[in-house]
Amino acid sequence: MINISSLTKYFGKTRALDNLNLNIKKGELLGIIGPNGAGKTTAIRIVCGILRPDSGDVTVDGYSILKDPIKVKSMIGYLPEEPNLYERFRARDLLRYFGELYGVPKESLDWRVSELLELVGMEKRARHRINTFSKGLRQRIAIARALIHDPPIIIFDEPTMGLDPATSLAIREFIDGLKGEKTILLCTHYMDEADALCDRVAILNNGKIRDMGTPEYLKAKIHGDIILQIKIKSPDIDINEIDALDSVENVNLKGLNLSISLSSKDEISDIAGLIGNNMLSINTKEPSLDDVFINSVK
């Protein structure tokens, strides 16, 4: 559905994207995760036709963003990082405005606007001006705006950034509801969000894809099935002694926090014995996308 090939983009002398290649299948929800300045927003802005690449191309359903930008843009609904909306508009008028610009037929526009307002839970605020809305409400209207023309592809750039937990959850549930029905590209900082929603995740750093796959695949790729987290009283500890154990795959000491990747639980008691009285607390956890992310970008 979306084919990103050899994208390179410079801002002045800074290379934001470096020969980026990515394929997104129809109906798939692909997450792009990466640190600040990794090139996530630049990549999706190019896909949306907002920026022009210095080299490379993006094709959507066979149409090139460089040759048929209008056709490609009409297939995409885009939610930018900040829900920057025209403050002077009322919610309903804003959706009508964008509906007209997207070429939604006049006879179905009113119905579509009402449907979307209801979908994002804003039907009671339809006549209110945008400048009276909180960030969460603006984000809801921005989502409705992105969906006004019922696009087959939706691109979300940090959709839950800066929102309260309840609104974030509502938006995640909303995105989850679109899975399978739409092709979705999701840029996020939140690993749990990517883990919960995405079919596949691409880790982007310095304008390049560092790793890509299903969340399970990526988590399995990092060392060990179990991570042992131990808090110690003093950093005077012999890491090599722990590392020498058979089930230990990786040992990482940061301050007074010791993180040990294990292939099995068999030697946990041996590790506890080696640390002895220096141990304050101990617990185990399964690897998360956070671990994958940190592992990929370090």
């Binding site: 002045g12 907002i50 843009k73 885009y78 930018p80 920057n84 002077r88 964008f98 610009l101």
Partner: protein, 396 residues
């Protein structure tokens, strides 16, 4: 045509905006105040006590008059018009050379005809290429009307038996404006007509720089619209707003008693002039990073535009230079004065309007298309010019 949808919504938002309505009312207030003070000024100049006129207006034009009986010469304003004695051998040659503006021939037997209350025919020769001819013609006509009224009055008095006074008296109802006043009127009028074109710069800035500052431009560019749809659609809304305001403006001027010949052509001319001005403004706005920068840029650009409009118009009024036709303001002066103007003289300002419009809109669209201009880091003007000229590698 999605650009028309942008125009429709921009126009709707503008006309319904409280800020715009307030600005609109304030502008009308300023117009009315200007007219009031202008009228007071004219009254001051026109009063018999007299307010001294600008010295530059004395000797504005020269005319040759053959009027042995001095029935007309005495009524012409000699402070402004130099009157030469008619010399059949040289006067027409001087008229052709543009050294004098008019030749007036009063028949030799006119004194007798006036006494017998017979019609006299005054011959007036004008050089159609001399821009002063329209105002001189008005001045001469005013003098002739005054003369005619005086003769009519004497004639009516002669019909009434002696000892009785006439109930009906013929009066000179309209003295006519003096020549300097006509000149002041022309410049004042044209300034009033062009003023609205410079009052909408902030709207252009808001619609283009505002998209950058509010970061709404990102969404707009992501829409299935071309960059030219966005720029032209937005600017068209502003030109339509100007057209609306100008229509009201001209109606007020007409109602207030200002003499505007060809009001429709004048209206079309001024609205057409707004197109390149808005184009240049949008080019400045497209390049500017924020409102402050756009404001500074516009101050410089508007000084240049005003100079381009006014200087040739003043040159036209003072000496009728051919180059003065390049300014649309000159065209408007000639239109509302009702001058008999050859079509070729209108082609020059129309050409300048079309060329400047095309160039300015092209530059605006090119600038708005550039990622570095909209999202940064923005290149300097010198670098842009090099890109534009293809001297340095770039994407212009």
């Amino acid at each position: 045509m999605r650009l028309l949808k942008i125009t429709k919504w921009e126009l709707k938002n503008t006309l319904w905006s409280k800020k715009f309505i307030m600005i609109f009312i304030l502008q009308l207030g300023v117009l009315i105040l200007m007219m009031t003070f202008f009228n007071s000024f004219i009254t001051g100049i026109d009063s018999e006590k007299g307010v001294s006129l600008s010295p530059s207006l004395s000797g504005f034009a020269s005319i040759a008059v053959s009027d042995n009986n001095t029935i007309l010469v005495n009524r012409i304003n000699k402070e402004v018009l130099n009157i030469e004695k008619m010399d059949y051998k040289n006067s027409f040659a001087r008229l052709k050379d543009g050294k004098i503006t008019t030749v007036i021939v009063i028949p030799e037997n006119s004194q007798k005809k006036v006494k017998r209350f017979q019609t006299i025919s005054v011959k007036l020769y004008l050089n159609p290429e001399d821009p002063k001819q329209a105002v001189v013609l008005k001045e001469v006509n005013s003098s002739l009307e005054a003369l005619s009224a005086s003769i009519s009055e004497q004639w009516i008095d002669s019909l009434i038996p002696s000892g009785k006074s006439a109930n009906t008296r013929v009066k000179e109802e309209k003295k006519g404006e003096s020549l300097p006043l006509q000149l002041i009127n022309k410049m004042m009028m044209v300034v009033l007509l062009f003023l609205p074109l410079f009052l909408f710069g902030n709207m252009v800035v808001d619609s283009i720089v505002g998209e950058k500052e509010r970061k709404t431009g990102e969404i707009l560019i992501a829409m299935p619209l071309s960059h030219s749809d966005i720029i032209i659609g937005k600017n068209m809304a502003i030109v339509l707003t100007i057209a609306l305001q100008l229509a009201i403006w001209i109606l007020i001027l007409l109602v207030a008693g200002f003499n505007i010949e060809n009001p429709l052509l004048v209206y079309i001319g001024v609205v057409s002039t707004s197109v390149p001005i808005i184009g240049i403004t949008s080019a400045v706005a497209a390049y500017s990073k924020n409102y402050k920068e756009a404001g500074i840029g516009l101050s410089f650009i508007y000084i240049i535009i005003v100079g381009f409009l006014i200087v040739p118009a003043l040159a036209y009024v003072s000496n009728g230079s051919k180059w003065s036709n390049i300014s649309p303001m000159t065209m408007i002066i000639r239109l509302f004065s009702g001058e008999n103007t050859p079509a070729i003289d209108f082609l020059i300002p129309i050409f300048s309007i079309v060329v400047v419009s095309l160039v300015s809109y092209l530059i605006s669209i090119k600038l708005f298309k550039r990622d570095d201009i909209v999202f940064g880091p923005r290149p300097g003007i010198f670098r842009l010019m090099l890109d534009f000229l293809g001297i340095k590698k770039g994407s212009f």
